[in-house]
């Protein structure tokens, strides 16, 4: 018998595959990956799972996405941005809506059409429409944005929407684009 057998220990190629040629550096690399992931997921990106149909068909029920907390650090939200809106008690659940109205503007819905400052606003992302949506004009104060979902085929009363504050409400921008 020429072959050397080592009972109870792994073959060297397996050890190299799992922990590398220099285990100390492998440990350092693992620590860096873990730390980076922690910082990213704790302070920058919030992973979310879409539930419900209010953003259909752009974002379907069950889809996975991320919210970038830093997206509005140096710039203001723009019309058309899809954002996460936090609830007061915490961030385990949040609303995912599209910004349609900016601070200082007046928002209204007439026969399903969005009006900004009394002018109709084209919304190419809205695929499911309804002519039943009616809403009297609402004026947005400073720092307030009007957010609403893309699925306008829902009953107006069933569709949760309204004013969100940039400071305490809007968490960040959704980074993965949905179906256009």
């Amino acid at each position: 018998m020429d072959g050397e057998t080592k009972t109870g220990s792994f073959p060297s190629w397996f050890q190299t595959l799992v922990i590398g040629r220099r285990p100390k550096w492998t440990l350092v690399r693992i620590a860096i990956v873990v730390l980076t992931t922690f910082v990213l997921l704790e302070f920058v990106l919030i992973p979310i799972r879409v539930t419900g149909v209010s953003m259909a068909p752009t974002y379907e029920n069950g889809g996975i996405n991320f919210i970038n907390r830093l997206s509005y650090l140096h710039s203001k939200p723009q019309r058309g941005d899809v954002v996460g809106v936090r609830l007061q008690a915490g961030e385990h659940l949040m609303y995912m809506k599209r910004i349609v109205g900016l601070p200082g503007e007046t928002i209204a819905f007439h026969d399903g059409v969005l009006f900004i400052d009394e002018q109709p606003m084209p919304e190419p992302y809205v695929k499911y429409t309804s002519r039943t949506w009616q809403m009297a004009p609402i004026h947005l104060g400073p720092n307030f944005y009007y957010v609403v979902g893309d699925n306008r085929s829902m009953n107006f009363e069933d569709h949760y929407q309204g004013k969100a504050d940039l400071v305490t409400g809007i968490v960040g921008k959704v980074i993965l684009k949905g179906k256009s």
Partner: protein
């Protein structure tokens, strides 16, 4: 070496002791959180659950409220209700069991503020209710007011809040 082993054992024992202390004597925040989680569990029911266990759960749920209550439920798409007595709330809970086949209630977020006197508290919670297993759950923010009575935190007022104005 023996000393190191003894020290490690001591640290482990102290950690277990501290953990047991927090389990049996939780701080008010934790006690309120635990109580709200239990209340949510009691409010939930499945389609296959028997009538006796449903009634028992509703009766247990009653122990989480004071006799006189002030509960205003104003959820979009649902009729608004005001309850002033615990009995009325229990009757409504009983009626809900007849109206829907299953209900799963949970509070994914609970934020508790204890008043300086440690005898009353306010909890802001996010409620998620899955009704009849539908994919669109009801999400509602609540502000719950509690006070301490006979060592237990009891709910005496509950308001529904609107996140988007």
């Amino acid at each position: 070496m023996k000393l190191v082993t003894r020290l490690v054992l001591l640290v482990v024992l102290v950690a277990i002791g501290y953990w047991l202390w927090t389990v049996f004597f939780p701080n008010p925040q934790k006690a309120i959180r635990n109580r709200l989680v239990k209340a949510a569990r009691l409010a939930s029911f499945s389609a296959g659950q028997g009538n006796i266990s449903r009634v028992a759960a509703i009766e247990s749920l009653g122990n989480y409220f004071t006799e006189e209550i002030e509960i205003k439920v104003d959820v979009p798409n649902y009729e608004s209700h005001t309850f002033n007595r615990r009995d009325e709330l229990m009757q409504a809970a009983m009626a809900a069991h007849g109206a829907v086949s299953s209900l799963k209630v949970d509070f994914p977020d609970i934020k508790v503020d204890i008043d300086p006197g440690q005898q009353s508290a306010t909890a802001e919670v996010t409620l998620r209710a899955d009704i009849n297993g539908e994919k669109d759950a009801v999400i509602q923010e609540l502000r719950i007011y509690l006070k301490k009575a006979d060592g237990n935190w009891l709910i005496y007022r509950l308001d529904t809040l609107r996140t988007l104005h």
